[in-house]
Amino acid sequence: MSAHIEIPYNMDERPDTGLYNAKLGVWLFLASEVMLFGALFSSYVLLRTGASTWEAGHLILNWKLAMVNTFVLIGSSVTMVMSWAALKMNNLAKFKLYMGLTVLCGIAFLVIKGIEYAAKFEHGLLPNQSTFMAIYFTMTGLHGLHVIGGMIVNGYLLGPGSKMWATEPQRFTNRIEVAGLYWHFVDLVWIFLFPTLYLLPGK
């Protein structure tokens, strides 16, 4: 007979830290993500300052599509919060509506991104063309992978994961909060990526 294990504070807050485990966990994870993207942004700065020429993003990238994508992603962050708030108000139907919208926004973002990538491939603007194109593909690609990761989590929470609401509503609400923190971070990264890659002038 295996011992009965219950990890404390996996649902309720520990009084002296004011956190439940997953919330601390996701903040630590996001700290490491800041270091990951921080390293890429630092690389951008170092490569740009060391380069003799640098492309202007708005001339070779489609900044209009990217602008649309910025609003799509900000919108998805808003619906993400709304879905969490809906659970706080005990309204599962509303949660499903807003979470569904969040996932749809994620899909829209990726489709627009795909259109952008396809145009670049068509014009032969590949990572081997210039350091600018290389960092454009690396950063937006890595960000895109983060969007896909977030959508898998959100999709799970919208579908099979939502069964937890019936048995452990508090824990399920926590999960939405944690997934939301991650999703806002992914949004935030894009808000830095957009002006850096698409709007800054060349040299």
């Binding site: 520990r14 830290t17 956190l19 630590l28 921080g38 081997n128 290389a134």
Partner: protein, 600 residues
């Protein structure tokens, strides 16, 4: 409500299957043991690579007996080591020892096994993440190991993988090339350490038992906490760098390739415009904190063993805690002292020289506190204690010889010589690895219920101590004579270091002797599993919470979640009598101080 579902859950999972219990287990102790065994195998493998290299250095161009033929014509034409194979051995020795051996042993094994026990928890905060952390590490190890068997063999550009060399070596745009697999393996290892470090931090912050306040935490846990923060924050930049190097190798980008490169007489075809120094910055941004990832858990183990075997409280516990936190912080701002030779400018060099001198202060505080802890103690010279004691001067030598490397003026002379090899091996080999041995001998009874043989342990210790120094001490002399590292012929082609070449044979003998004495450990490790002396739950008469569990600890660890009533090292306090010189953390005052009764 939560309890109800758990109950329901439990009824279906009374006896987990063999696979769930020993292979895909979520029990932190099983995962710790998995990490421990895997990393010991990798340590041994990495050591074997080194023993082959030392043959080539001791007897350049001579056929390697026995093994030479067996390794194949591509690696060992006519039994003589090919230069490319030597480079593979060098690169993979470093990579395996650091990323697959020492760190997984220090953090994955010791951290996983002991942190939940020492904080009085039933498991880690995220048991499933913990399991995936081990398996992701395992896959990373398999990728690294498999890279020896792809066309042109494993990575050949040193464990630092400096660009452009790492990009132009075996440049095929296929993932089945040594360097590309090295990068993919690293991405797995970084992901694994990310999962592990989040888990350790959350466990320490959130799952401390009632009464276990921050300043009652064993120093080992503090060391693991700081280490985990270093892994969490320093590794991602290397992951970013790894992705960029993958892009350079697979997608033809030029992140690390400057314009106008000519390789083997042919102009490089890429766009250029990148920076080779960028790789070095990102690599050392990880790799310097990594040094403290290697050393801090070692210090944690040594502190536990010293307190227990001197029967005294640690001297300066709070100084140790603060020093390790400051050490962790400063370790993020010293990385470019590995790059004085790159001509990054005197202003930047001045900054990094200053921070490097600063970081030696907390290191010295920790070492001093540990040495002063011995003062006036009635020391038990057990095998773990011998290793812990030897750690102090060995790490001391490693640390002090680092100072001339931290100052640009002397570093320019010593950079990339065997002096550097001697320096960091003193920190990691007779330093960290001795501490890890101390830890294995010390906690083995808790894990297995039996003590390891003291006789075999002492043979292992004295042999290792003598031969470690035979190997690494001559390297300082060779390095100061200007002998470069990474030389396939051991420096034979250079006139200026002819007078120190003889040491290469001495080091070779030392390395093989060291290998021989590890057999005592291997035999002891397996022999004691069945034949070792059986022990009770607290054989060392120790004070921290892991000794309050049944032996070996069952799933769930404690029969009852303990309360912590006092600090971690209450040995030989005034008023304690000769029958019992220690007050365990888990005993309330009226039990602990109630006279001669021993705890079970």
């Amino acid at each position: 409500m939560a309890t109800d579902t758990h109950h329901h859950h439990n009824e279906h999972h009374d006896e987990p299957s063999w696979i769930r219990k020993y292979v895909f287990s979520t029990d932190h102790k099983v995962i710790g043991i998995q990490y421990g065994l895997t990393s010991l195998v990798f340590l041994f493998f990495g050591f074997c690579l080194l023993m082959m290299m030392r043959w080539q250095l001791a007897y350049p161009g001579e056929a390697l007996p026995l093994l030479g033929k067996w390794l194949g014509e591509a690696r060992m034409p006519g039994g003589v080591m090919a230069p490319e194979f030597y480079n593979q051995l060098g690169a993979m020795h470093g990579t395996i020892m650091v990323f697959l051996g020492v760190v997984p042993l220090a953090v994955g094994a010791f951290g996983n096994y002991l942190v939940p026990l020492q904080v009085g928890a039933q498991d880690m905060a995220f048991p499933k993440l913990n399991m995936s952390s081990y398996w992701v590490y395992f896959v990373g190890g398999v990728v690294m190991f498999a890279s020896f068997f792809v066309p042109e063999g494993a990575a050949q550009s040193g464990w630092t993988s400096y660009a452009p060399l790492s990009i132009v070596t075996t440049p095929a745009q296929s993932i089945f090339r040594g360097q590309t697999m090295w990068l993919i393996g690293m991405v797995f290892l970084i992901t694994s350490s990310l999962l592990g470090s989040v888990n350790i931090i959350v466990t320490i912050v959130q799952l401390r038992a009632p009464g276990l306040t921050w300043m009652r935490l064993p120093f080992f846990c503090w060391a693991q906490l700081v280490t985990s923060f270093l892994l969490l924050l320093a590794f991602p930049p290397l992951e970013a760098a790894g992705v960029m190097q993958l892009m350079d190798r697979l997608a033809g980008s030029s992140f690390f390739m400057p314009a106008g490169l000519v390789i083997s007489g042919k102009p490089w075809e890429g766009s250029g415009g990148g920076s080779a120094l960028l790789w070095q910055h990102l690599f050392w941004f990880l790799a310097h904190p990594e040094v403290y990832v290697l050393i801090l858990p070692a210090m944690g183990i040594v502190a536990e063993v010293i307190a227990n075997n001197t029967r005294k409280p640690l001297w300066g516990y709070s100084a140790l805690v603060w020093a390790s936190a400051i050490l962790g912080f400063l370790s993020f701002v010293v990385w470019a002292h590995h790059m004085y030779l790159t001509g990054m400018g005197t202003a930047i060099s001045a900054f990094f020289q200053t921070t490097t001198m600063l970081i030696s202060v907390p290191s010295i505080i920790i070492l001093t506190a540990l040495i002063l802890s011995l003062w006036g103690g009635s020391i038990r010279f057990t095998t773990p204690m011998l290793f812990a004691l030897a750690f102090l001067p060995m790490f001391g030598i490693g640390g002090l010889t680092g100072l001339p490397l931290g100052l640009a003026t002397s570093d320019i002379q010593l950079h990339d010589t065997y002096y550097v090899i001697g320096h960091f091996h003193y920190v990691v080999a007779p330093g960290t690895i001795f501490a890890l041995f101390a830890g294995i001998y010390y906690w083995y009874p808790k894990v297995t219920g039996r003590r390891m043989s003291e006789t075999l342990g002492k043979w292992h210790f004295w042999g290792s101590l003598v031969f470690m120094n035979t190997v690494f001490m001559p390297m300082f002399v060779q390095g100061m004579a200007g002998m470069s590292r990474r030389m396939y012929d051991g420096g034979e082609a250079y006139l200026h270091n002819q007078h120190v070449l003889g040491f290469n044979r001495m080091i070779g003998v030392g390395a093989w002797g060291l290998g021989l004495f590890q057999l005592f450990f291997i035999i002891n490790f397996f022999w004691s599993l069945k034949r070792g002396e059986k022990v009770n739950d607290n054989p060392w008469k120790a004070t921290t919470l892991e000794w309050n569990t049944p032996t070996p600890p069952p799933h769930g660890n404690f029969t009852k979640i303990p309360d912590a009533y006092r600090g971690p090292y209450e040995y030989s306090l005034p008023g304690s009598d000769t029958h019992k010189d220690y007050y365990p953390q888990w005993e309330p005052d009226h039990v602990a101080k109630a006279g001669p009764k021993e705890t079970k």
